[in-house]
């Protein structure tokens, strides 16, 4: 046995590009292109992602799964390069796969094996000794909620249980990065909630990075900090959702009864930017020291009633739709 218990990020061959805190980004793409047959599937993707959870969005055929498969070394890049956890995908494919857990989109199991045997085998293939593999297989199955069904054959599992078993095999060896390809596919609402809760729990543990590939905006919105939107093999948008959420909290849209001029003047005196819109509506950008309750207070002082107050927040759906309208 080799003693490589603590997994090092730096591989011998790679020269990872360090992120802002000296830690290599989770995914770093440099002009990455992939050509399968005669078709260019990914076209010069460039970007760097360091978030704890990264969402990969795009319509069907945008190249999400191809990007994942390329990062895992299943498809060779036709141009450019990419790094995962600071390791080059061409030179350090095996090391990357040692640090990664993968939950594929489609059914993937051996139907005649019991769940615990299957998960144990996967753990052993990742390098865990048989004893540790068995222990972690039980733990992983309990963790995903299949503890009571762990001795049943995988072929007899429902679709939701198979999804959970796929998640269990992806985390059984304790990877540093987990790639989830459409994890909520075919799940009923309670099962979807369970899956989302597990992903959020893993993210909160701070021991693992998550790449979530989905065409369901809600899944990505609930689980991810960063988002990458692909369209026809190109990146059309990348942003940090957390930052956008924070920024959007400073935007307000008010609909009022009363004299808007009075309220506008009072709000501007607080140092906020304010614009009057038709229909007694105001758009406000709050100054850093001003809170929403200050706006309510001033409105009361000016005898203006606020009928409606919205955070003018771009939802992920807005971001996605804008990205889809972006010309290539």
């Amino acid at each position: 046995m080799t003693s490589s218990g603590s997994i090092a990020f730096q591989a011998s061959g790679g020269q990872p590009a360090a992120g802002p805190h000296g830690v290599p980004p989770v995914i770093n793409l440099r002009e990455l292109s992939v050509r399968l047959g005669k078709r260019d599937i990914l076209k010069s993707l460039t970007g760097s992602f360091s978030g704890r959870s990264i969402g990969l969005l795009g319509p069907n055929g945008a190249g999400k799964s191809t990007l994942i498969n390329t990062l895992l070394g299943f498809y060779p890049p036709s141009g450019g390069s990419a790094e995962v956890l600071g390791l080059d995908i061409r030179r350090n494919s095996r090391e990357i796969r040692a640090l990664t857990g993968y939950m594929p989109e489609n059914d993937a199991f051996v139907s005649k094996m019991s769940a615990v045997t299957f998960i144990r085998m996967m753990a052993e293939l990742s390098g865990l000794p048989p004893g540790a593999a068995l222990e972690r297989a039980h733990e992983a199955l309990f963790y995903v909620g299949l503890g009571e069904a762990r001795y049943r054959k995988l072929g007899a599992y429902s679709l939701g249980m198979k999804q959970m078993a796929k998640l269990a095999q992806a985390i059984v060896h304790g990877p540093k990065l987990i790639i989830l390809d459409e994890p909520t596919n075919g799940l009923d609402p309670p099962a979807r909630q369970r899956m989302i809760r597990l992903i959020r729990e893993m993210r909160a543990s701070k021991e693992i990075h998550i790449v979530l590939c989905s065409h369901l905006l809600r899944d990505v919105e609930e689980c991810c900090e960063e988002v990458l939107i692909l369209k026809q093999g190109r990146i059309v948008h990348q942003s940090n959702l957390e930052e956008e959420r924070r920024t959007n909290r400073r935007f307000l849209e008010l609909e009022i009864w009363g004299d808007p001029g009075l309220l506008t003047g009072a709000i501007e005196r607080l140092g906020c930017e304010c614009a009057l819109a038709p229909g007694n509506r105001l758009k406000v950008i709050l100054a850093p020291e001003v809170e929403v309750r200050d706006v309510y207070r001033i409105a009361a002082e000016q005898d203006v009633r606020i009928r409606r107050l919205n955070f003018r927040r771009d939802t992920l759906e807005d971001i996605f739709l804008k990205a889809m309208e972006t010309p290539q």
Binding site: G101, A108, T117, M121, Y143
Partner: protein, 286 residues
Amino acid sequence: MSVHKRSYRAYAGPLTAEWSRFLVLQRYARESMFRSRIQTSLFVLCFFYPVLSLAFVYLANNASFLTRFDIRAAGILRIDAQFFLTLTSVQNVLAFILTIFSGPGLISPDLANGALPLYFCRPFSRAEYILGKASCLAILLSWVTWVPELVLFAVQSSLAGFGWFKANLWMAGSIMLISWVWIAVLCLLSLALSAWVRWRLVAGALLLGVLFVGAGFGQAVNRILGTDYGYVFDIANLIATISCRLFGVATTLPISQTEAWSALLSICAACLLLLWRKVRAYEVVK
């Protein structure tokens, strides 16, 4: 991660050596192989002829028995190259039958259920996967081919004396060589066919078909073209040609050693190519 805490925990323990990971696959494949009673029974039946041969060897070396029935003079009980060639041929046929039941079940379930991405997203290569699966079958076939044959050779050597052993040591080499050639052909054929059709039953039938249809096709080629080159499609004939040469027994088979070896190597290469194309995480649709 722990059962009682139910929280995610990274693994920080020791890891096994990378070169040994293919043995994991071999171990699990073997366990699933012997879960079938038919396969286990067939495996046991494969030892019937070697046990019979063991009795034969004992009798052949039992002087009082031979003298009583005056058999040595008749020359019936002779332990020579022909004896070991017959033993090898019988065991090779049994190995083929065992392969029909055991071989196709190694890869086809993984392909049918889309499990290959789960293997290859780990630090585990396609070559290791094929090696792991093939080694399971190779070990199983070894138990019914060269292992009992060499045991018989050793028993005969101990009974007949060092002189016999020294004079016939080349036969041990022949046993090993022909057995491993046959094992390699069977492993590659069964894995390639099961990877191609992805259905265990069909792969088994196809394996049977390759042997018989190949022979029939070879005969048809011979008749139509008026040649002997059709025999290169007959795997049993190819093995028989090589076996006879290795055991120094005269043969009436019309193809040469070079042709037989070339044909077998071509079959193995074609199987490897097919395996390499089919055993991958995702097939590229061009």
